[in-house]
């Protein structure tokens, strides 16, 4: 009994926390600015716009319409080609906070909320693998407080995601969570927690979420090299057997390390910043957008996916060797003719007439 009670109270605590964060992240009505300063007026207008939008979106009927439209769009997208692996570089949280003159922490919190919303969308679209660049090894160079904020935010969100992944009613049900990267650089407490959460969501099959914390792509490649050398030294593998495929499998992303179909980088920089180098450099699609990460909305994500889907359809047709006509015939045969031919066995046939030979008649 006490066990369930404790679990319930933990759930309540998490939900309470979620609500609080949502309230904190929600745009507030901005204060009237000093009209003489251009930047102050611009910031005011931006904040006002966000506030008005959030007020409109909070109306029940509009919310309902938005949800319905979103659902329909997702179902439309589902029937076309879909990327297997989508990855996000979540850049622009601090600039977002700065533009609304909020503390850096709320910028990161708003970013986390955006990620969770997009995760739900990805899940219902049916994308199997999602990864997100939460923290780079280079980020340890940031001020101590910010690193602490990011670390504690991760711990918080891990709980939330794990809780939602277990909850049958949540849209994230069945999610499997993995935290990858140079785990030796984070504290033991957090490491234990991560391991626990990973074990909790181990059985999830509908989607894998990789959180890269603290991660760099070069570090990833280095680990794969080291692993391969170790395998040869201690486990009797042959050096000559190493090839691109099994090398790739040794990387943190495992089976998904070969290719990232769609990498989205927000906030306008056109570089990879040591992320997904191995996955993207062959022919992965990288989308750069000027939106800051907390502003990155479902509609923008949707249009990127639609573009991806369009061009993938085109490329599949160009690469396909089968002629369109035979494909159409097969399609029609499978779908339009409702009656399939029955399986017929020889024994079930009616008796044939008696066989008579001309030669024997005489």
């Amino acid at each position: 009994m006490t066990g369930t009670n404790r679990a319930n109270s933990a759930v309540e605590a998490v939900e309470h926390e979620m609500k609080q964060v949502q309230n904190r992240v929600k745009p507030q009505r901005p204060e009237f600015p000093n009209l003489l300063s251009y930047t102050a007026v611009r910031h005011f207008l931006h904040a006002l716009e966000l506030w008005v939008w959030s007020c409109i979106l909070n109306l029940a009927c509009i919310q309902w319409i938005v949800v319905q439209v979103q659902k329909t769009l997702i179902r439309v997208l589902q029937v076309g080609p879909l990327p297997k692996h989508v990855s996000f570089i979540m850049d622009g949280n601090r600039r977002y906070a700065k533009s609304l003159s909020m503390p850096t922490k709320s910028g990161h919190e708003a970013g986390a909320v955006t990620l969770l919303n997009l995760l739900a969308a990805c899940k219902s679209i049916g994308i199997k693998t999602v990864s997100a660049y939460a923290f780079s090894i280079e980020n340890f160079n940031r001020p101590r407080e910010e690193v602490d904020v990011l670390t504690s935010l991760l711990a918080e969100k891990l709980d939330e995601v794990a809780h939602r992944a277990q909850d049958r009613n949540s849209e994230l049900y069945g999610l499997r969570l993995c935290v990858i990267g140079e785990r030796s650089m984070i504290s033991k407490n957090l490491n234990d927690k991560i391991t626990r959460v990973e074990r909790m969501t181990d059985a999830g099959e509908s989607m894998i979420l990789y959180i890269c914390f603290p991660y760099t792509s070069r570090n990833d490649i280095y680990h794969a090299v080291y692993d391969a050398a170790e395998g040869c030294k201690y486990h009797g593998q042959r050096a000559a057997d190493i090839d691109v495929q099994n090398f790739t499998k040794r990387m943190f992303l495992g089976d998904y390390a070969n290719k990232c179909d769609l990498l989205i980088r927000t906030s306008g920089h056109t570089r990879l910043s040591d992320y997904m180098l191995w996955q993207v450099h062959e022919n992965g699609v990288v989308e750069f957008t000027n939106t800051l990460w907390p502003d990155f909305s479902f509609i923008e994500f949707f249009s990127m996916l639609l573009k991806w889907s369009f061009f993938t359809s085109l490329q599949r047709r160009q690469l396909a060797k089968v002629s369109l006509r035979s494909q159409t015939m097969h399609f029609l045969k499978d779908n339009l003719l409702p009656f399939k031919r029955k399986q017929i066995s020889y024994e079930d046939l009616p008796e044939a007439p008696q066989s008579v030979s001309v030669v024997l008649r005489q």
Partner: protein, 348 residues
């Protein structure tokens, strides 16, 4: 650790001539296979055909619509499926229209830019353009593509021409290191032609009796060539530019070769496991392939890295002009401008 390098270089050298990779390459989806940038009605038709006729990618969706529970629910599932497919194709058509407008807009923009920036073989103009910038990339890289034979600027000769043009611009801009990447390594294979092509191009830009010196490096075979084959190399002079030629072979496969060599050395106890560090790998790859470029230019319609060495694009800034399909000066100078204006804060 020269032993590692020697062994990797030996591995890389095998059967490079047979290597014909171009036709095996699958380009990034946005770049098309036949006619890269240009949208056409035929393409829209093809995209729609696939979208409508192929089953959805996700298994769950397929199951959901393919369920067979009684006659009514089955056919309604099919109806729903058809309805969503129709919606999808309508969205595709809308997207294609938007894309067409974007394309036309970008083309007009590129044309105007090409008028605005045209160096017409004059180094002074290029230098003047560059003087306005606050900083230049120390190492510049560019991805070149071999176009179809028979097109304007197609085939190997077109590629050589593009490459040598870039060399001339870089020299005039004052960039000391240039990396040219092409997937199949056509530049490497035709290095003698490339050298003479560069020489001729430089003769056009500069005084033919006093052409700037250049060095061509091919990391895959660890070779360096100076100037063109028939130019006199009597007077020792500092080179104005160092050109490295890379191909797909220098990417993933070089990392694999390096891994193999290290694994062998470890297995034979000639090297300790703890010796393998990020620093060692980085220095080895720098020796084997080259330094990380600061700016990477791509002259195709939308970014496609084509297997550029993955270790070397860590913090590299990318620049490409949307819907462009030619190697032009405007892309070059605008790339430099972008680099001059961008802020680098490594992790901070």
């Amino acid at each position: 650790m020269t032993k590692i390098q020697d062994s990797v270089l030996k591995k890389q050298d095998e059967d490079w001539k047979k290597d014909q990779r171009d036709h095996k390459r699958v380009p990034a989806i946005t770049n098309g296979i036949v006619n890269p940038a240009k949208p056409s009605v035929g393409n829209v038709k093809r995209a729609l055909e696939t979208a409508i006729l192929t089953p959805p990618d996700s298994e769950e969706v397929r199951k959901q619509y393919g369920q067979t529970q009684g006659l009514w629910s089955q056919s309604s599932g099919k109806l729903e499926y058809a309805l969503y497919k129709t919606f999808l194709s309508i969205l595709f058509v809308i997207y294609a229209c938007v894309r067409y407008i974007q394309y036309e807009y970008n083309r007009v923009k590129i044309r105007i830019l090409n008028l605005a920036y045209s160096p017409s073989n004059t180094p002074q103009l290029i230098r003047q353009d560059v003087m306005k910038l606050q900083k230049l990339p120390k190492r510049l890289a560019a991805i070149l593509e071999k176009k179809r034979e028979g097109d304007v600027g197609g085939g190997t000769s077109g590629l050589l021409n593009d490459g040598s043009e870039l060399v001339a611009w870089s020299i005039s801009a004052g960039i000391k290191h240039l990396t040219l990447y092409d997937y199949d390594g056509h530049l490497k294979r035709n290095v003698d032609e490339f050298r003479s092509s560069v020489f001729h191009k430089l003769c056009k830009y500069y005084d033919p009796t006093n052409v700037p010196k250049f060095a061509v490096r091919i990391p895959q075979w660890n070779k360096v060539y100076f100037n063109s084959a028939n130019a006199d190399t009597s007077e020792a002079k500092k080179v104005a530019i160092e050109i490295s030629l890379l191909s797909n072979r220098d990417g993933r496969e070089t990392i694999i070769d390096l891994t193999k060599t290290m694994a062998e050395l470890c297995a034979h106890d000639e090297m300790k496991l703890s010796d393998i560090t990020m620093k060692l790998i980085d220095s080895e790859l720098t020796q084997l392939v080259g330094h990380e470029p600061d700016l990477l230019l791509y002259f195709g319609p939308s970014l496609d890295l084509q297997g550029f060495p993955p270790w070397h694009i860590r913090l590299t800034e990318f620049y490409w002009e949307r819907d462009n399909d030619q190697v032009t000066y405007s892309v070059f100078i605008r790339g430099l401008k972008k680099y001059a204006s961008c802020k680098m804060n490594v992790g901070k």
